[in-house]
Amino acid sequence: MNTAVSLDHVGKQFADLHVLQDITFDVKEGEFVSIIGPSGCGKTTLLKIIGGLSDFSTGAITVKNKTAKMAQQQREFGFVFQSPVLLPWRDVMANTMLSLELVGDHENTETANDLLKLVGLEKFKNFYPSELSGGMQQRVSIARALSLEPSILLMDEPFGSLDEISRDRLNSELLRIWKEEKSAISSIIFVTHSVPESVFMSDKIVVLSPRPGKVRQVIEVNLARPRTTDMKYSEEYLRLVKWIREILKEC
């Protein structure tokens, strides 16, 4: 498989403060990679750097043979943030249309309709964000992220503020959407602070240690796809969860 994103000794520092140091790992086409670590280890900063939204000080990033900035400008990335960042004055449909509008594709309601169907919100098109649950709001933000057909989805603790039940449901939903034909998403980079979530979702887990953020370990997850809830009781799953917890304990 080809490499979609490649980080080579990436570092970032503010004055004397090293935020990230020597970050090296690859994300292949079609791969789901989680970045996990304690708070303050620079996970979010790293995601922004990959997405071309933040500068870095040392090393190199290649995204499909381009720099991160170029990839961002060519709309290779879709972003889903910690909070859904929906605009409260726009209904679900108009929020989904935002990305399309910004690139001048105002009339493309078809894409927005398809995506709302994909995330299961076609009946809520005319609802305002304040009328939706947290999980539904995050679904809208996923639909919005998919609307410009990015090939890489960058997610920053997207389900971190949801209750466990909604989170489990959205995890499975996300895996389904990812594999759906309509989505152009090839790779997903997923920041999380939940160990079980990272194991359930990923092909590869990058464990970061804090101050400065460094790659502690890169772990391959050899669970079959599609993932099912039953796998959460499998030996391999439990072994990985335990292992990562132990690594994080030492961080």
């Binding site: 997405g51 961002q72 972003f79 943030f81 910690q82 605009l87 990305s99 910004l102």
Partner: protein, 237 residues
């Protein structure tokens, strides 16, 4: 409740035979109000006109400056002391100067109304335009949105719930400003009525003026509130 207070007031004045030129009975005030309603409405209209024009000018300028503040740190730190100085100077101290500059006609009243309604808006608009969530900005940047797109589609609508409370305050204040302007020198407007009735010890007439000025303030405030409910429809009270 309101009726109760008025009745009590009426009764106390009646019972104590308190001199009418100090505190008139509500019934006398209201019959005076009814008898002179046409000229009173005319003068109130003048004041309200001055207030509305001053309000419109001040808020347009204030919002424009707030936009500059948000986009340039230099302009903000350079202009802010002047804005603060303008705010802390009492309008009553500036009113004579405004008459000197803008004449005894409505110009000076519009200026006074503008000066007082300027400050709430500039503070709230700056705050509203700035307080956009970081991730919202990241979202727009990730889509390579222009500064103009960020302004129109994000900052501007985001600022409205902050802006309207300031507009309501400055609507009420602009009426105060116009009346203060009229006190310094005028031949029409509700401030003029109040001032002239003071000279002649016509307390009843003065009360009608006070009532009308309160009504003008409330009317203007109410209109802005109605617009707010329409515009900021997503804001739950």
């Amino acid at each position: 409740m309101f009726i109760g207070v008025l009745s009590f007031w009426e009764f106390i004045i009646f019972a104590t035979q308190y001199p009418e030129y100090l505190v008139p009975r509500p019934s006398v005030v209201f019959s005076e109000l009814a008898a002179n309603i046409t000229p009173l409405v005319y003068h109130t209209g003048i004041t309200l006109f001055e207030a509305v024009i001053g309000f419109a000018i001040a808020n347009t300028v204030a919002f424009f400056i707030a936009v500059l503040f948000v986009h340039s740190q230099k302009i903000e730190s350079g202009l802010k002391p002047f804005v603060l100085a303008l705010q802390t100077t009492p309008i009553i101290a500036m009113a004579p100067l405004l008459v000197l500059w803008f004449g005894t006609d409505i110009g000076s009243k519009i200026a006074a109304a503008a000066v007082v309604s300027f400050f709430p808006t500039i503070v709230s608009a700056t705050k509203g335009l700035k307080s956009v969530e970081d991730d919202a900005l990241n979202l727009f940047k990730s889509l390579s949105a222009s500064t103009w797109q960020i302004f129109v589609k994000l900052r501007l609508p985001h600022s409205l719930p902050y802006l309207f409370p300031a507009l309501k305050t400055s609507a009420a204040l602009s009426v105060v400003g116009a009346i203060v302007g009229e006190f310094v020198g005028a031949n029409k407007g509700i401030g003029y009525i109040i001032l002239v009735s003071t000279y002649h010890m016509e307390t009843v007439k003065m009360f009608t003026g006070i009532i009308m000025s309160a009504a003008a303030g409330m009317l203007f405030f109410g209109i802005v509130r109605l617009i707010e409910k329409r515009v900021v429809f997503w804001q739950k009270s």
